[in-house]
Symmetry: C2
Subunit: 218 residues, 2 copies
């Protein structure tokens, strides 16, 4: 990636400030990353519905243009802040800090940050998140974890999405799981379909447990 | 995008040099761009097979890591040069110039450059190509042309891929075509499936005709 080192340094400082804020607020923050069209927004919709009554959730969503995703997510009733990045290919910690001001953060247990659709650049930009979640849809091909190593090696959770299309796409599940385990050795692995709902409960349970563990470590 | 302006300026100069070289060689150059997993390599395989005996083709393929795509493409018998970009999220003109040295360019009519899977950053980096080709697979969602405007506005051709999955993915074709026409006003539009072969002939005919027209303009 073509990145200015000074800018990366500034991002690291702001990411640590975000991390401190999230700790102070007992708010588990997720940085959700994937290719365009892997189903980030659909997963967040299902997550917001699945966690209703269990965790109070807020959303920050980044896109180059349009507020389509924010509109979809507001349908769940959750507070959503849109960041329009223009031509910028990733979110930065400072953008998240600005967006946080528009949320009632003391009333939130979980912050879902939907990054710009991009499997490369977001890898270099820590947002201060507690968990980095990387999505891989079954239609993208089994070799993506090996072809985009920086983002996959940094994943705390890898979510295989659109499992309802597994057969139609000719998805080689064994090969994909092998590649994910190789590229993302520290990641928890989930397989789900936001369309059918399969796997959503296990994913939501994971988030509830992850927040509990994270609070105990604080 | 976080790009160094001096670097962009250097890229523009090298892109013009590539353009001059392509003209001198009567070699039509395509810059093929899409999200990860939209089917760039599958399209190139089908294109290489479809153009056999009509145009002599060479390929330059960029990936962060692995030579999976180059291996797949060499199966067609075409000469293929792999560029490993490491953590870089796009190809640059200078990389293409270096890769060209490894091809017998005087024996080629068409150069297919498969960019890194990324719908954002490659938009800013002219490679000197005659045609920029942007792929959108039916599984990515109909709104992507509106959400990633810089790459779509620069497209000379937009190729909707994986049409065999149209029904399974619940693809809204009308909405997608409307969004493509809005985002990519100058682009030729193709719908195809590399898996079934549907639409590949029309696409290959387009490339043959595009090269003829381009030679006449030289």
């Amino acid at each position: 990636m073509v990145v200015n080192q000074a800018l990366l340094g500034a991002n690291h400082r702001l990411a640590e400030q975000n991390r401190g804020a999230f700790r102070a607020l007992d708010m588990l923050a997720l940085n959700v990353v994937s290719s365009p069209g892997s189903g980030k927004t659909a997963l967040l919709q299902a997550t917001l519905n699945g966690l209703r009554g269990r965790l109070r959730c807020g959303v920050i969503v980044g896109d180059l243009a349009t507020d389509n995703d924010a509109m979809r997510l507001r349908g769940t009733g959750a507070p959503v802040v849109q960041i329009a990045t223009g031509t910028m290919c990733h979110l930065e910690a400072g953008m998240v800090a600005q967006a946080l001001k528009k949320l009632d953060v003391r009333a939130l247990d979980l912050l879902l940050v939907e990054n710009v659709g991009n499997l490369v650049c977001p890898a270099s930009f820590d947002l201060g998140e507690a968990l980095r979640v990387v999505l891989l849809s079954v239609t993208e091909g089994e070799d993506k974890p090996l072809k985009y190593p920086p983002i996959f090696v940094s994943a705390d959770a890898v979510v295989v999405t659109k499992m309802d299309l597994e057969a139609a796409a000719g998805f080689d599940r064994e090969a994909a799981l092998r590649n994910i385990r190789q590229a993302s050795p520290k990641a928890e692995l989930f397989e789900l379909s936001a369309r059918t709902g399969s796997g959503i409960d296990a994913w939501c349970d994971y988030l509830v447990t992850a927040r509990k563990k994270w609070l105990e470590l604080s």
